[in-house]
């Protein structure tokens, strides 16, 4: 539900970088969404459309990548969540350590990263 405000921060950051480099046009942006964020790609795209209209990034191609979350357990395990598909519950988030069955903590996958920006800049 807060995709719009997150996207407006992204647009501001893109604009700041573009101005610094005297860019004329933004051609593309790659954004990584951590597995454990609540940001939806569709709402992000819609927000971008609204925010970018009439600016140099209007025609930019947005590429979204999901990055895997990471959990950590007292037993020393660090890595992906255990696969959580099961017939009764469907896919869900389960912080059970796949190595020892104990409770694990989320240590990665909460990010929303602007990976890179493709822009048209003066050739000096």
């Amino acid at each position: 539900m807060h995709e719009f405000s997150v996207m407006s921060q992204i647009v501001d950051a893109i604009m700041e970088e573009a101005n610094k480099r005297e860019a004329k046009k933004i051609e593309g942006v790659t954004i990584e969404l951590g597995e454990f964020t609540m940001l939806g790609e569709e709402q992000m795209r819609f927000s971008f459309e609204v925010l970018a209209k009439g600016t140099m990034m209007e025609d930019a191609v947005l590429v979204f990548r999901r990055t895997d979350g990471e959990i950590e357990c007292a037993c020393g395990y660090r890595g992906a969540m255990s696969s959580s598909e099961d017939a009764a519950h469907g896919s869900t988030l389960i912080l059970e350590c796949p190595q020892c069955g104990g409770g694990a903590n989320i240590v990665g996958g909460r990010e929303c990263v602007i990976r890179d920006i493709k822009m048209v800049v003066p050739d000096v």
Partner: protein, 229 residues
């Protein structure tokens, strides 16, 4: 790096297309502020608890009960009420004779660390032991915006149905304590509080689960214990 002749794209000088590496995490600014909030609280020896949960699940009433209990123990509490609009929860906290702050988020569906930072600035931090923060009723967004509290409590009630944990696992994974409230209404709702508890433990084996009837004050002692109060 592919160079483009700018006449093609309507510019008058030579331009090129570059890919700029950014690696900028947009959510990290909030996390940094949250860490600063926690450092500020630690400096003052204050423990803070963040209450999240569904709309109307009983967050305010539970904090009111905790405040009364702690006041009885001679502890000094404050509460920060986050709501999209209005100051109803703020007034309810104030009526208990504690320092309270209201945060109207406007259009935002969640509190963020910056808003809490400003509320903390207005609280008498030197004279407090505990701060309770009530987030906007919402089981989705707060997950992306930690506030700097020491423990997070997610409050759901049987009136929201028996599938709340399965539908919103992230907020349960994000919380330290899960309160299942309004168990006095369980029969009427035909919802089994234990099945909600089982789902919560499955999603987050580290979380403590407290079954509660805040109206009658049942389970408040268990919650206080789960929070180390």
């Amino acid at each position: 790096m592919d160079k483009v002749l700018i006449s093609q794209v309507g510019f008058s000088t030579m331009h090129k297309v570059v890919t700029v590496d950014m690696m900028k995490d947009i959510l990290s600014a909030n996390r940094k502020l949250a860490d600063q909030n926690q450092a500020l609280l630690d400096e003052h020896g204050i423990r803070a608890f963040d209450f999240l949960g569904a709309i109307g699940s009983g967050k305010t009433l539970i904090i009111e009960r905790l405040i009364d209990k702690l006041k009885g123990d001679g502890k000094r509490c404050a509460a920060i009420a986050g709501d999209v609009a209005g100051d109803d929860d703020y007034r309810r906290f104030s009526a208990h004779g504690v320092a309270a702050e209201n945060i109207s988020t406007g259009k935002e569906c969640h509190l963020d660390a910056h808003m809490v930072d400003h509320a903390l600035e207005r609280l008498p931090l030197d004279d407090l032991d505990y701060v309770f923060v009530e987030n906007v009723g919402n089981l989705v967004c707060p997950v992306d915006f930690p506030l700097g509290s020491h423990k997070r409590v997610v409050v759901i009630s049987v009136t929201e149905g028996d599938d709340m944990v399965r539908k919103h696992p992230a907020i349960f994974a994000f919380s330290d304590v899960v309160v299942i409230n309004k168990v006095d209404l369980a029969d009427a709702m035909e919802v089994d509080p234990d099945s909600l508890a089982t789902d919560a433990r499955r999603t987050n084996p580290n979380a403590k689960v407290v079954i509660m009837n805040a109206r009658q004050g049942r389970g408040i002692d268990d919650l206080a214990e789960a929070l180390g109060l």
